[in-house]
C-alpha cells in the first residue's frame, strides 16, 4: 500500500469542463488499477512562476491516490504525457495523505475570507 500525490497543470485556453474531464480520466485509470482517489483539490487558475509551453497561467489540480502500485503510476503518467491539455504534472510518493486540506487550499480560503471582509 502506497500513497501518491499527483499534481498537474491544465492549459488555460481550454473550456473549464476539461478540468473535470481530465480528473475523471485519471480517476478511471486509478480504478482500473484497483486504486482509490482519496483526495481531490482544485487550486483553480493560477499564474505560473515562469511560462510553460508559452502559457503564463494554468488550472492546477492535486489528487491524492492510495494503494496504487508503480505500474498504475507509470500508466497514468504515460496518459498525462500524451494528453495535449496537461502541460505539466508531478507525482510524489508520500507517507500519508493528510485529512485536512493542503497549505494551498488554506491559503486560498484565507484569501477568499479576506475578500469577503472587504466586500
Amino acid at each position: 500500500m502506497a500513497f501518491y500525490e499527483l499534481t498537474y497543470i491544465i492549459r488555460p485556453d481550454v473550456p473549464t469542463t476539461q478540468v473535470d474531464a481530465v480528473a475523471n480520466k485519471v480517476g478511471d485509470l486509478v480504478k482500473k488499477h484497483k486504486g482509490k482517489v482519496a483526495k481531490a483539490e482544485q487550486w483553480g487558475l493560477r499564474t505560473l512562476a515562469y511560462p510553460i509551453k508559452k502559457h503564463r497561467r494554468g488550472y492546477y489540480t492535486m489528487l491524492g491516490l492510495s494503494s496504487t502500485g508503480a505500474e498504475a503510476i507509470n500508466d497514468i503518467e504515460h496518459q498525462l504525457k500524451l494528453s495535449d491539455d496537461v502541460i505539466r504534472f508531478m507525482t510524489v510518493k508520500v507517507d500519508e495523505l493528510g485529512k485536512e486540506p493542503s497549505a494551498m487550499m488554506k491559503a486560498k480560503n484565507r484569501a477568499a475570507e479576506g475578500d469577503g471582509d472587504n466586500a
Binding site: I9, L48, A49, Y50, R88, A103, M104
Partner: protein, 138 residues
C-alpha cells in the same frame, strides 16, 4: 604625591578598580538583552515547527533570495537535516511553476546602474584599490 604622570600610565578619568585595563574581564553591561538573545534555533525544529511541504508556497518563498535562489543555512539558521528537506521541497515547487527558478530583482534605485547584478562579491574597498586598475584592463 605631586609627581608628573609616567608616560606608560594613561589618565584614568572616573574609572575605578582596573576595569578597562588590558587583561581585565570585560562584561558588556550596556549592550542589554538583545545582545545575548540574538541566536535563534532552527525554525523547523521544535514542537510547533511548520511542516515542510512543496505545496506551501508562502512558507517556502521565505527561504528564497530576491533572485529566486535558495538561501544558505548560515543566513536562515535552518539545521542541516531540515535544509535538505527544504531544498527538496523548493525544487518540487519549482517544477510545478509554483516558485521561480530565477527571478529578476530590480530595486527602484538601481534602475540606472549596470544590468549586471552587484552580488556575490565582497564590497570593494575603494581606498585600498589601486586607481590604475581600470587603465590596465583597457
Amino acid at each position: 604625591m605631586a609627581m608628573a604622570p609616567t608616560p606608560d600610565r594613561k589618565p584614568r578619568g572616573r574609572r575605578q578598580d582596573g576595569e578597562g585595563r588590558p587583561g581585565a574581564k570585560y562584561t558588556p553591561k550596556l549592550l542589554g538583552k538583545a545582545y545575548f538573545q540574538r541566536r535563534r534555533g532552527c525554525p523547523f525544529s521544535g514542537p510547533k515547527a511548520p511542516k515542510i511541504d512543496y505545496k506551501d508556497v508562502r512558507l517556502l518563498s521565505k527561504y528564497l533570495s530576491d533572485y529566486g535562489k535558495i538561501l544558505p543555512r548560515h543566513i536562515t539558521g535552518v539545521c542541516a537535516e531540515k535544509q535538505r528537506e527544504l531544498a527538496q521541497a523548493i525544487k518540487r515547487a519549482r517544477m510545478l511553476a509554483l516558485l521561480p527558478y530565477t527571478s529578476k530583482f530590480e530595486p527602484a534605485h538601481a534602475s540606472e546602474r549596470s544590468s549586471r547584478p552587484p552580488r556575490d562579491r565582497e564590497p570593494r574597498d575603494v581606498r585600498s584599490e589601486p586607481r590604475n586598475q581600470d587603465a590596465q584592463s583597457e
